[in-house]
Amino acid sequence: MKSPLFVRCSPGLLLLVAFTLLRPGAAFADVIEFLSGAKVEGKVVKIDKQAKTVEFEAQLGGRAVNRTYTYDKIHAVTMNNKRYVLNPRLDGASKGGAKLTSSTSTDSGMVRRSKAEIDAIIDQAGRTPPDWYDATELNYPDTLDLSFPEPAPGGWNNQKNVGQFVWDIINPNASRWREGVRLMHHLLKVNQDNPVVRTRVMRSLGDMYFRFFQDYARAAYWWRQAGVKAGVPDSVHLAECYWRLGNSQMAMELLNQRTIYLGMIKLWGDMGDTRKATDLAENYVRLGGSPHDAYLLAAEACRTAGQLEPAIRYYQKVLDTPLPEKQKERVERVRNRAVVNLEAIRLFELTDPKKVVNGSYRAESMGYEGPVEVEVRVQDGRIENVEVTRHKEKQYYSALNDIPRQIIEKQGVKGVDATSKATITAEAIVNAAAKALAKGAK
């Protein structure tokens, strides 16, 4: 009990540890407790502090196997009657390891962590490659200019310029996202002595881990390495990482900066502070920012929080503001989103799955590129399955899996959180699901 290892363990864990220690016979074998919750008895053969791995010998399925596990899979190791906690075990509902994704947005479902814990998680994750890293091919065209100059000289050439290669080839293909990360890590090594390029690469890494994999710990690590701080647009995403990892305080500190970015409005909304979000939106407009964008985000923040009245008000504001001369096309897309969402809110009152007749319902809603069709299956008042059956979306495919999973977990479309940078697709899925449920309402 003297070991400072246990200092930060929750009381429940301490009890468990005490229980483990008191149990007779526990001394005969080493035990690894995995973050998955599984426990295995065997023998620790070797600990590699450098590579952060444990070599473990155990009888699995009647066969003696010798396996090497990275620290990030392990919750705790007990050897020689002593228990060492390597990673805090999260409550049963969240996922473990370096990929501390949390798809829940309300505070109740989220883990809270101290700043020190957050820093430790970020540091540990960033220093170790993701588990798919070695199996991923380093694959890029031979013509690629690895010195990564920005802005890229010459015209658009996705076989030469790294940024354009990522934009054209990596971004649209989920199957290439890992290759993209691997390429960035390679570029980091190649350009390690050039601080400007190095920073550029590390920002791209943060962006990729955040956007492709919602790997908030690694994203935060690389953004921090790149020196992202208040005053830089990426700081909003870094703040989101802090919040997602379990520390809203750190997020808020970073968000309380002088520059207002549109992303902040959404993040405040996601974090549950709708008031702050709407204030920020008003401020943004007062300072000359695009009212369409700001009000739309404010409306969505309200909507996520379930405050439908103010949401409708802000959507209406988007519609009432005349279109500007510049960027007419883009703003028109924003308006369309407001129209669609306003309609969906009217459907929202009908989205209680308990009032839906058993069956499968399909509906569609406009996404980035065209209609997104969603099928919702309801059985005995429960949403059993949500599936995107048809879509023409271009990028940010993560929403296609993430949002349906959230809808099932939350058993409804209220408060489902848009995957950052994929809001349009996510919204379309939420809206379509709402429409589908409305079809089946009694």
Binding site: L60, A120, L138, I169, N171, Q192, E384, N385
Partner: protein, 805 residues
């Protein structure tokens, strides 16, 4: 007694061969076929001899008696002994009412005979033969219109899923897993005893599939699972390092669909191509043309062996074309007399010359037998006449592909075969059919034949009823024409006709009474033989050269090379082995395979090509290879078929909508992904760049890029592009993505595994790619991180001096 011993010897020998075949269990079906065939024939000979020995006719002993006709009913003579009926008849008499049988004393026919008489004289004289014919025809139609009808297949429903389970524990010895969840197991799983467990949060690269488990229900919100298969460390480890949540699936997720393949194999209790297999000319000419072993030669050899025992029995009993011609002759041709010809002319030996010509073609490497061999002719006739009607009526008329000149040519040929019936009954079978000629030649080695005894009264009834014109004016047999149909035996009023072993000489009629006027080989006969043979050889050679010439032209003219079915052998061999029977078209779902027309040259006529504008090759289907009788399309298991490249999709960047900057379109990508090949990925095109060189989000389009190492050329992409962008919306003239064949775009092999080939190619590509690039390059620069300055100090590993971690 001697006869009995020989019979037993035959039986024992036959059983020995059968047993040897059974015990040996050869690696492939081929030798087994031969074993079964030879053993079966030996056994049948032995059995027949035994039966013959036991029912020896008093005055006419024989060692093999094949009489199965219904003998003409004669009143028993006053002082004759009552005939001892054969065993089966005795049994039948004791079971069935006596009114069904004829009265031997009065000579009055029974009910059976009366019914048969109503059906016609040929049925009443040889009912067994008609029954066998009917069964064979029905079997042929059943195989063709039911077994080869792919639309009875339905994809397996996706199955129920129970998501959101968390791991409670996993037993490291037994692999028993406990899972829990906040709410109970879905009721749809109530009756399930096995589930598939999947890690919902697994890497997309690894599918998270752990295996099949027996499901035990615990208290609500908890399940206990025990592995169905022997537990492996990998399975347990999946639960250790996987983080879940876990989902229980009713069906194995992500399994490659196989409903079309499963449907065919479940229906195919008899090989769908069985009649094509037993047409000896099909396999014989294919083997000669391709100069290779064709596995169906085995079945051809078996049927020839059988037909040594029952000379030309194939034509008389089995051939569905012959039976259809019989039906046509009875129903239509016999009522139209004006085209009848009485005499025999130059045409009587056409079938031999045709056979010779076909074989000469085959020697030159051109397979012409498909045009004239009996079973391909009837199969193609059924295909081009019956299949469109079946599709139209049972599905939709718009799903019937348009007919081309090749179709009409085949239909005319098919109707022509029947039209010959206006000249004489079974004109085609008697004089033209080269498959029949093979049997006629095999008749030279016949064991049994029709014999006429001296009790013949020259009544001419047998000559009149013989459909094959196989009885000479002196009532003896034209042995190469007789099909042993035994109709003559049933009409003979004196029971003078018998079907016995060839060397039987008991009480035979005098030959040449009345005189036949036929010499064995006169001057004219010799001349006609020489002229016929010469013209056959000449015709065959000219035909072979002509077809080869047109083929060469097609290759050189830069025309589109046809995309062949998956698993087709190399093109040269393909053309030598494809019999053009049309079986693959029938079995192909959605008519992806369609026959090439006359425009593509004689050598390509009726060969299958993939018409991807019409439909794409079903991922779950391998039917074409399964029903191909000659192995031109290899009979691949589904796992092999899905790796066999039949072509490569090529995107036309001038017309493809996103590439041309016209509009967003990802139909081909969606189709390819849905089909499970994942062979098309995106590239961003027409991105708008702002003043600083940064791309504008939301601008431009995603355009398709083919991954050549993933694409098998199934054509579902082309089907979709054509269907929507060309046919539906009229945006394009032709599909912007087209499957092309040719060197490097397809895998054409005589043998070997396509999966291994692709794995080998992937390995070569990997080795060739960036050999110098280092593998272990995860690099973390040691930079001062201001925000993490105090992080170092509080991490556990730095904090505990005694911790080994």
């Amino acid at each position: 007694m001697r006869l009995l011993c020989i019979a037993l010897a035959f039986l024992i020998g036959g059983f020995a061969v059968l047993a040897a075949t059974f015990i040996q269990r050869p690696f492939v079906d081929e030798p087994a076929f031969l074993g079964w065939g030879a053993g079966g024939v030996l056994c049948v000979i032995g059995l027949t001899m035994l039966v013959t020995a036991s029912r020896r006719r008093a005055k006419s002993p024989a060692s093999l008696r094949l009489d199965v006709f219904l003998p003409f009913l004669v009143k028993r003579k006053k002082n004759a002994l009552p005939a001892s009926p054969m065993f089966m008849l005795r049994v039948a008499r004791s079971v069935l009412p006596p009114s069904w049988f004829a009265d031997q004393e009065t000579g009055k026919p029974g009910k059976i005979r009366k019914v048969l008489k109503k059906l016609g004289p040929t049925v009443s004289s040889a009912p067994l033969r008609r029954a066998v014919q009917a069964v064979c025809l029905l079997l042929f139609l059943y195989l063709f219109f039911y077994v080869c009808w792919p639309y009875t297949a339905a994809p397996a429903p996706p199955g129920e899923t129970s998501p959101g389970w968390r791991l409670l524990s996993v037993d490291q010895t037994t692999g028993e897993v406990e899972l829990q969840r906040a709410y109970p197991l879905e009721s749809s799983f109530a009756t399930r005893s096995f589930v598939h467990v999947v890690d919902e949060n697994a890497d997309p690269a690894r599918d998270g599939y752990t295996g099949v488990f027996r499901l035990h229900r615990g208290r609500p919100g908890m399940v206990v699972l025990t592995p169905q298969d022997p537990v492996s460390p990998e399975m347990i480890e999946a639960f250790l390092v996987g983080v879940g949540p876990w989902a229980l699936h009713e069906r194995e997720p992500g399994r490659w669909p196989s409903h079309y393949a499963d449907d065919l194999s479940s229906k195919e209790r008899v090989p769908a191509e069985v009649f094509l297999m037993i047409d000896p000319l099909v396999s014989l000419s294919t083997a000669v043309a391709a100069r290779s072993w064709v596995w169906s030669l085995i079945s051809a050899a078996s049927i020839l062996l059988v037909c040594v025992l029952i000379p030309r029995g194939f034509c008389g009993y089995l051939c569905p074309l012959g039976t259809l011609i019989d039906v046509f002759d009875w129903g239509i041709a016999s009522r139209v007399k004006r085209f009848r010809i009485a005499d025999n002319g130059w045409w009587v030996h056409v079938k031999y010359y045709l056979l010779l010509a076909v074989l000469v073609c085959a020697v030159f490497g051109v397979l012409a037998s498909g045009y004239v061999a009996a079973i391909p002719v009837v199969t193609r006739g059924m295909l081009f006449l019956g299949e469109p009607i079946q599709s139209g009526v049972l599905r939709e008329w718009r799903l019937v592909p348009p007919l081309n000149a090749g179709h009409w040519f085949s239909i005319v040929l098919f109707l022509g075969v029947f039209g010959l019936g206006f000249l004489q009954p079974r004109f085609w079978c008697k004089y033209v059919c080269p498959s029949g000629a093979v049997f006629s030649l095999a008749n030279l080695f016949r064991v049994t034949e029709r014999k006429v005894e001296s009790s013949c009264i020259h009544c001419n009834k047998c000559v009149e009823i013989c459909p094959f014109d196989a009885i000479k004016p002196d009532f003896t047999t034209r042995v190469t024409d007789c099909t042993l149909c035994q109709t003559c035996g049933g009409v003979c009023p004196t029971h003078a006709i018998k079907f016995v072993e060839r060397w039987n000489k008991v009480e035979l009629k005098v030959v040449g009474d009345p005189p036949t006027g036929e010499s064995s080989l006169g001057r004219r006969g010799f001349l006609s033989l020489a002229a016929g043979s010469a013209s056959a050889i000449l015709g065959g050679s000219v035909m072979a050269l002509a077809t080869r010439q047109t083929t060469a032209d097609i290759r050189d003219s830069g025309n589109r090379i046809p995309v062949r079915p998956p698993g087709s052998v190399p093109e040269r061999e393909f053309l030598q082995m494809c019999i053009r029977c049309g079986e693959c078209f029938k079995a192909c779902p959605n008519n992806v395979l369609q026959p090439m027309g006359l425009r593509d040259g004689l050598n390509q006529l009726w060969t299958p090509q993939v018409v991807a504008d019409w439909a794409g090759c079903e991922p779950s289907c391998n039917a074409c290879g399964q029903v191909c009788p000659t192995g031109a399309i290899r009979a691949l298991p589904l796992a092999e078929k899905k790796a066999a490249r039949m072509g490569l999709a090529i995107v036309n960047q001038q017309t493809c909508l996103p590439f041309a900057g016209r509009e967003a379109c990802q139909l081909c990508v969606d189709e390819c992904t849905a089909a499970g090949y994942h062979a098309i990925e995106f590239t961003q095109v027409h991105t708008v760049v702002d003043a600083t060189g940064q791309p504008t989000p939301g601008s431009g389009f995603l355009a398709p890029v083919i991954l050549a190492d993933q694409c098998v050329g199934c054509g579902v992409c082309q089907t979709r592009c054509f269907g929507i962008n060309v046919a539906e919306k009229g945006l394009l003239q032709t599909s912007a993505i087209v499957v092309e064949a040719g060197d490097g775009k397809e895998d054409r092999m005589m043998d070997g595994s396509y999966r291994q080939l692709r794995a080998e190619k992937a390995r070569q590509r990997d080795n060739a790619k960036h050999p110098a690039r280092e593998r272990n390059d995860y690099f973390v620069p040691e930079l001062a991180d201001p925000q993490a300055s105090d992080a170092e100090r509080v991490t556990p590993e730095n904090d505990t001096s005694e911790s080994p971690f």
